[in-house]
Amino acid sequence: MLGRYVSLFQQDLKVTLRNGFSYVVLILAAILVAVVDFAVPSEVKLTPTELFVDLTEGRVFESVLRREGVEEARILRSREELTREVEKTRSGIGIVVEGDLENPRFTVIHQGTEAPENLNLLDATLEGLVRVMRGAESPTGSDIEYLRPRAGATPVPFNKGLVPLIVVFEVVMFGFMVVAVMVFEEKQEGSIRAIRVSPARPLEYILSKASVNVLLALVYGALVVTFTVGPGVDYPRLFLLIGAAALLMTLVSLSVAVFFGNVSEFLFVAIVFMAVFSLPMVSYLLPSFAPAFVTWIPSFPVVFGVREILFPTGKEGFLAPMVGMVLAETAVFLAASHWAVTRKLMREGR
C-alpha cells in the first residue's frame, strides 16, 4: 500500500507544481505579508467609534481621555461639530460632557440601532471614568483576577492579529480549491481512467491528494507566519494544527467536488462552502458575537488555537483536545470522501 501511495503522491505533487500552484502560493504569500507588514495599521477600532466634546470648565476630561490613548481626531471642539460627525460616520457615538467633575452631565448621541445593553454598558463605563478621575475607591472593592500570569501583556497589534485569520481562512482553505482542481484535471485529461484500472485504491488516492494539500498549506503557512510574526513561533504546534485543519478541508472538498462535472460548476458551490467556513472570522474580530451555530463550524476553534500558538497567553492543554476534535471530524469526512470517491469517481463511466 505504501509504495502505491508514494507513487500517487509523487504524481500529484508534480501535477500541482506543473499547474503553477507553487507560484500562486509564493505570490499570495508575498502579497499577504506586504499587506500585514506595510498596509494594515497596527491600531484599528472595529467597534463603534466614540467621539467626545468636553465642555466642562477647564476641560478636565480631555486630558484624561488623551492619557487613556484617545486619538486627537476623536476629541472635537463643539456639540454641533460632534453631531455632524456622528451623523456622517453613521456608526459612531458622540459623547458631550458638561458641568464639572463633581456634577458631570453626559449627553450620549447615538444612531438608534444600538442594542440597549451596549448603551447601558457605555453609561457604566462613563461612570467608571468619573470614579477613576475622582480617585474614588470601587464601592464594591472588586478586583480583576487574571487566570494566567501573562495576562495583561502587551496587546497584539491589529495587523499582526490578522495573521491567525489569514492562516485559517486563506492558508488552510487553499486546499479546498486545489484538491477539486486536481480531481477535475484528472477527469478532463482522462488520467482518472488509468487510475481506475491501476492497483491504486480509493484510500491511497485520497491520502495522496490530502498529503499534497497539507504540504502546500504548511509551506504557505510557514512563509506567511515567518515574515509577519517572526521566526520565534512554536512551529511544531503550529504545523500540527495547520496540518490537521488542512487535511479536514481537503477531505470536505473531495467529498463534494466529485459530484460536479467541472471547475466552473464547482466554483460557485465552493464559494458558499467557504463563506460558511469563514463565518468564525466575525467572531474573531467581534468576540461578543459567538452564537452556538458559529461555534460548531470546524474553523471556529482552529482560528483561536492558531492565535494562542502565535501569541501565547499561557493557556495550557488546549492543543491536544482541539487537534483531537479536528481529527475526529477528519475521520468522518475521510469516510465520506472514501464513499464518494468509490461510488462516484472510481465507477463513473463503467
Binding site: K88, A151, F268, V272
Partner: protein, 332 residues
C-alpha cells in the same frame, strides 16, 4: 453587428444551462445574502456575555441582565471553565460580601474593566453622573447597508468569474478557434460577454438587495450601477480568461486576482476619509463607491460621478488589455 452578438449570447446561455452553471451562479450569492440577512441582526446587537456566580445577590444577577447575556455557574470551577472558553466572557465571582471579576487575560482590552464598571454601578448607592441619551432615529443598521454594498459588488465579481471561465472553456474546447475563423470580431465578443454576464449580475444584485434591504432600496440606481460596474467584470474576466490556458490555471489566476479585487473595497471600509486617496488608482475602488453611495449614502463622489469614473477607468483598462487578448484568442 447586433445579430452576431445575439448569436454569441445565445451560445453562452445554452452552454451555461447545459452545465447547470447558471443555477449555481444565481443560487450561491442569493444563499449568501440570505445567510447574511439571518446573521446580521445578531452581529449588530451583539453584547457582552457575563458568567456569574450562582451564589451572587439576585440584585446583581438581575442587574447584569441590563448589560448583556448572563450565564450562571454553580461552582468557581464552572465559572473558570466558562471564562476559559474561546469567546470573550468575563466572570463575576462572590467572595463573602465582595465580588471579583475573573478574566482570562487575552480578551479585548476593556472587558474586565467594563465588567467591573457594571458591577460598581449595580452595587453603588447612587449615580455619579447625569446621563441623557439622544437618538438620531436610524432604523437600518450601518452593518446591513455595508453588507449589501459588498454583496452587490460581489455580483460584479461573480459575473467576472463567469466571463473568465467561459473564455477558458472556449479555448479548451476549441470554440475560440471556430470563432477566430468566423466573422465575429473582438468587439462583438466583448459585447456578448457584457450582455450575458450583465443579465446574471443584475438578477443576482436585485435578488440579494431584496433579501438584505427589502423594498426600500433604490432599484433603478442598483440596475444602473451594476450596468456601469460591469466594465469591471469584463476586466476581471479578461484577466482570468486571458492569462489561463485551462480551468485549472484559471483557478490559480483567480486566487491571485481575487485578492486585490475584493480586498481593496474591504480595506477602504476600514480606512478613514483622510486616507481614501490611497485607493484612487484602483478601478474596483470606484466600482465599490457606486454601491456605497446607493446603500450607505457615503462615497467620495456622488453616484453618477462614481459611475463615470468606473466606466472611464474600466474602459481604459479593457483598451489596454484588448490587444493582448486579441492576440491570445486570435480574434479579429
Amino acid at each position: 453587428m447586433l445579430r452576431p452578438i445575439a448569436n454569441l449570447v445565445r451560445k453562452d446561455i445554452v452552454k451555461s444551462l447545459r452545465d447547470n452553471i447558471v443555477i449555481y451562479v444565481l443560487l450561491s450569492p442569493i444563499l449568501m445574502a440570505a445567510g447574511l440577512a439571518l446573521c446580521l441582526p445578531s452581529v449588530q446587537t451583539a453584547s457582552l456575555t457575563f458568567a456569574l456566580d450562582a451564589a451572587a445577590d439576585p440584585r446583581v444577577i438581575e442587574g447584569f441582565k441590563e448589560y448583556g447575556k448572563v450565564e450562571l455557574c454553580e461552582t468557581r470551577q464552572d465559572l473558570v471553565d466558562r471564562v476559559e472558553k474561546l469567546d470573550d466572557v468575563a466572570g463575576v465571582v462572590r467572595k463573602g460580601d465582595r465580588y471579583a471579576v475573573v478574566v482570562e487575560g487575552n480578551e479585548a482590552s476593556d472587558v474586565g474593566a467594563a465588567t467591573r464598571a457594571v458591577l460598581d454601578r449595580i452595587l453603588a448607592a447612587g449615580t455619579l453622573a447625569e446621563i441623557e441619551r439622544v437618538s438620531l432615529g436610524r432604523t437600518s443598521p450601518m452593518l446591513r447597508e455595508m453588507a449589501a454594498s459588498l454583496v452587490v459588488f460581489g455580483a460584479i465579481l461573480i459575473a467576472g468569474v463567469l466571463i473568465g471561465f467561459a473564455i477558458v472553456d472556449e479555448r479548451e474546447t476549441g470554440v475560440i478557434r471556430a470563432l477566430a475563423v468566423s466573422p465575429a470580431t473582438m468587439l462583438e465578443f466583448i459585447s456578448s460577454q457584457f450582455v450575458a454576464a450583465g443579465a446574471v449580475s443584475v438578477v443576482v444584485a436585485v435578488a440579494s438587495s431584496l433579501i438584505l434591504m427589502g423594498a426600500g432600496a433604490d432599484y433603478i440606481k442598483i440596475v444602473a450601477g451594476v450596468s456601469c460596474a460591469m466594465v469591471l467584470s469584463i476586466v476581471f474576466g479578461f484577466l482570468v480568461g486571458g492569462l489561463a490556458d485551462d480551468q485549472i490555471a484559471g483557478i490559480a489566476v483567480l486566487k491571485v486576482v481575487m485578492l486585490p479585487f475584493i480586498g481593496i473595497p474591504i480595506a477602504s471600509l476600514c480606512v478613514g476619509a483622510r486616507y481614501q486617496w490611497v485607493f484612487y488608482p484602483f478601478p474596483n475602488y470606484w466600482g465599490f463607491q457606486i454601491f456605497r453611495d446607493i446603500f450607505t449614502g457615503e462615497s467620495v463622489l456622488e453616484f453618477w460621478g462614481s459611475c463615470v469614473v468606473t466606466l472611464l477607468f474600466g474602459g481604459a483598462v479593457i483598451a489596454g488589455l484588448a490587444p493582448t487578448l486579441r492576440r491570445r484568442l486570435r480574434l479579429r
